[in-house]
């Protein structure tokens, strides 16, 4: 298998640990509390989520030796809930990719479709769960990075509403878009992990939604995460549920994918849900808006990697700018450089209004379209990915083609909504996922609907 042929240098995985798909970058066990709702469960953590004393590389040579001195809030909460962390998983460098092939440590193979990519950027996390190396995994989703690998590996992934889960300790790529979320073999498992990690965090102002009166009112005076037990919502009861099928996201999809998708919709209808067609004209510019915003935020976020406080050093020949530029030439892979440069370009004088400002307009348009769609639908459905898993190496040469593969997932991040990807069957090229999108803080509804497909 390709992952074995090119495992990449620098993985810290013991010889006697069976990692035939190359899902892990570092294998290290960290025991959690003795009891709790996740006692006895094992969790693999994406390598851009900080773990106290355990190397966190973001899949980058820049951070090959970086060891955080603290835990991310989500990791702390998992340990408090009794979970055991089993290691750090492979990923596209800094979360920038759809295949887990841009990792500086080599690609991961797809356990559900050997020889094909596991999806990205949380490909190692999805592969670890699919291969049974961990009960659960954490991923991060900036434009689909939890849902895409969940779909390609035949497992469940949840991208929470922006603000539900703390981002403290997540190495930032695009702050306004990314959320940490769970990957599991079934919907109830993913929901149980979400129960453990969701909720306000005083160290992350983007989770302080408990102070918002409108939200507190809607959830009986409580933060949505405290008002609900997500795992209890996985009861498969979709009687009377109204499902809007987003036609714009079905039309361009691969034939075999659409077949599996339609068959899953039949299952939902058989269980008592009703479906109707919905058109969201704004999704036509979602990919463009997503990449302009994500790249712009990345160009600013990744400025911290200067080889002085942390990161690979460029040495001390020359002044700060020269040393900095040299460290970044050596430490960053090509996709990361591409996005930093395009982001810098989009924000530079003369182009800001043309790209960045218009992308924000497109984002507002999308939000408006989603709001209108939710007037008549409880959830919106589409294929998670328009295509089955790519073959390893198939897509690396054409970045634009790769960006287009994210068409179905990025609208959700731009609108800050929750979404789940659940397995919808197999094609001869690998698994297909069905995506269900909910209104803000509507996690219960998408979990309930997703569980009806199991």
């Amino acid at each position: 298998m390709a992952a074995q042929d090119s495992p990449g240098e620098g993985r810290l995985v013991a010889d006697d640990f069976d990692d035939e798909h190359g899902a892990f970058l570092t294998v290290e066990r960290v025991e959690g509390a003795d009891d709790g709702p996740l006692a006895g469960a094992t969790v693999a953590v994406k390598d851009n989520i900080s773990t106290d004393g355990v190397r966190t590389t973001c899949g980058s040579a820049m951070l090959a030796d970086y060891v955080p001195p603290y835990d991310a809030t989500v990791v702390e909460r998992l340990k408090d809930a009794g979970a055991t962390i089993v290691g750090k998983t492979n990923m596209d460098e800094f979360g920038m990719g759809t295949t887990t092939e841009t990792s500086a440590f080599g690609p991961t193979d797809n356990p559900a479709a050997p020889g094909r990519v596991p999806g990205g950027s949380s490909g190692g996390s999805a592969a670890a769960v699919a291969a049974g190396q961990a009960d659960y995994a954490l991923g991060s989703d900036t434009g689909g990075s939890i849902r895409c690998p969940a779909a390609f590996c035949g497992v469940v992934g949840i991208k929470p509403t922006y603000g539900l889960v703390s981002r403290y300790g997540l190495v930032a790529y695009a702050n306004s878009l990314e959320q940490i979320g769970p990957i599991a073999r079934d919907v109830a498992g993913a929901a149980a992990v979400l129960d453990a990690i969701a909720g306000p965090d005083e160290r992350d102002a983007t989770t302080r939604h408990d102070t918002r009166e409108d939200l507190a009112e809607a959830y009986g005076g409580q933060h949505p995460a405290d008002a609900t037990a997500y795992a209890d919502a996985a009861d498969g009861d979709v009687e009377g549920l109204s499902v809007g099928v987003v036609t714009d996201l079905v039309e361009g999809a691969d034939e075999a994918v659409v077949e599996r998708f339609e068959s899953a919709l039949d299952d939902l209808r058989a269980a008592g849900a009703t479906t109707h067609e919905v058109s969201l004209p704004s999704v036509e510019t979602a990919v463009q808006a997503y990449y302009v915003i994500a790249m712009s935020e990345a160009s600013s976020n990744l400025a911290r990697f200067d080889g002085v406080r942390y990161g690979q050093s460029g040495g001390y020949e020359g002044d700060w700018n020269e040393t900095f530029a040299k460290a970044r030439e050596e430490g960053f892979g090509e996709e990361v450089k591409r996005r930093i440069l395009l982001g810098t370009y989009a924000l530079s004088a003369g182009y800001h209004d043309k790209y960045y400002k218009q992308a924000q307009d497109a984002r507002a348009w999308l939000k408006q379209d989603f709001d209108e769609a939710f007037e008549d639908a409880d959830v919106l459905a589409s294929p998670t990915m328009p295509v089955p898993p790519f073959e390893l190496g198939e897509s690396l040469d054409d970045p634009l083609q790769m960006y287009l593969a994210d068409a179905n997932t990025v609208p959700v991040n731009l609108a800050n909504l929750p979404a789940i990807s659940v397995p919808a069957g197999e094609t001869d090229r690998g698994p297909v996922g069905l995506q269900l999108v909910g209104p803000a803080f509507g996690e219960e509804t998408i979990i309930r609907a997703g569980s009806a497909l199991e």
Binding site: A289, V292, N321, E329, R338, I340
Partner: protein
Amino acid sequence: MTDTDAVDPEEVRHVAGLARVDLDEEEVERFAEQFGDILAYFDALDDVPETDREADLANVFRADEVHEGLTQDEALQNAPESEDGRFKGPRVG
């Protein structure tokens, strides 16, 4: 989208300078070609209609209180070079 949209290599070098990322010549050539296609694709944003942006914002500042942070050793532990409890960097200009 066609190859005629290619961005001038000089422009790629200029942006790389702004972003403080050195590139080798091959990367400059490759990026110049790819950026043309990608930026042409972004032109679709010109067709986005004007939308009212309802700013639904709430002040979420917490109380300004002193909390325990990283120790000096912890803050320095990932620095490639340090001296006398400080980060050591190249000269500034």
